[in-house]
Amino acid sequence: MKNLLSLVLLLSLVFSQSKVTIDNEEIDMNQNEAIVEVLGMVCSMCAFGIEEGFSKEEFVDKSKFSNGVLVDIDAKFVQLGLKKSSSVNPEAIYNVIQDAGYEVKKLYILKENQLTKYNVGKLNILEKELKENTPENIL
């Protein structure tokens, strides 16, 4: 019985996580998180505007990371904690980056065991590239 419980716990942990590759680096991503690859974010003061923008958004879970936001300038991405209860509009994430003066390269959202990846298309709008919801696609 103990072994069975351990197995269930392990599987639930494994299936609640995912990894995305950014700048040749694998980034761990948990349930209710988003990762945004940002073009042009090359300094702390650039990143501060992005952090400020997200910290004011309702859908951001402030209990995760630092006020809901983790910034990596070297790999040029921002990781967000997302509230379980709120639905996330990818356009809202995109707008925060734009209001800070930068551009989204790619956006990943992991919610309800679904990892969704968005690219920015030629018309400068977000395009859903693929939707993975099968267990074998979630590491």
Partner: protein, 200 residues
């Protein structure tokens, strides 16, 4: 001399960081040297447009200027590992005692990545009919994480064209900043200044 020092303050305070920041981002900015106090406060109404107030005080001459800044980000190139910008700058204001109008117009271009920065700014000043060219080449000896202190070494070269004469000046500058706080110190043995800035 007075005019040159005023010009120096203009160029230094305009060159400290991006002239436009994030939407609804506010800037508080203080520059002080043995002669002047220079205080600024402003807001980026959008990611392309900054408007702010500036109070410039010459303590020795007991003159104060009240100015309004209006900066526009005309174009930004956001690249994979770098960023480049083109800004249009303007300011207009008064000598608070004589009420004489003073205005400037300028263009500012820069390129930067995690290690290097190049900047050129040209500004025209109406009150003395001068054109000033400012060039900055900067190098960061090490790159650091967002939460740590970033250090930049800057070579600042300025040429001022006034009354058919050109005067030039070189100042080495040390810039350190962490997240939204910036501090700069520069000196060439003759002229020196300190700047503190915060974005919030």
């Amino acid at each position: 001399m007075f005019r040159r020092l005023i010009l120096l303050l203009f160029l230094i305070s305009n060159l400290s960081a991006h002239p436009v920041i994030f939407k609804n981002g506010k800037v508080f900015w203080l520059t002080q040297n043995p002669t002047y106090n220079d205080l600024r406060f402003g807001i980026s109404k959008t990611s392309n447009w900054y408007i702010g107030f500036r109070l410039l005080e010459d303590r020795k001459e007991e003159k104060t200027f009240a100015l309004m800044n209006n900066n526009i980000l005309a174009k930004r190139w956001n690249n994979e590992n770098s960023q480049a910008n083109l800004y249009l700058l303007s300011s207009v204001g008064l000598n608070t005692k004589s009420s004489k109008v003073m205005s400037t117009v300028g263009v500012h271009g820069d390129w930067e990545n995690r290690r290097f920065m190049v900047m050129e700014m040209l500004e025209y000043y109406s009150y003395n009919d001068s054109l000033v060219s400012n060039t900055r080449l900067a190098f960061s000896p090490f790159t650091v994480d967002y939460s740590k202190i970033s250090t930049w070494l800057i070579a600042h070269y300025r040429v001022s064209y006034e009354d058919k004469n050109a005067s030039e000046m070189f100042i080495p500058v040390l810039r350190i900043f962490k997240r939204n706080y910036l501090f700069e110190f520069g000196s060439n043995g003759k002229d020196s200044f300190v700047t503190f800035m915060i974005h919030y």
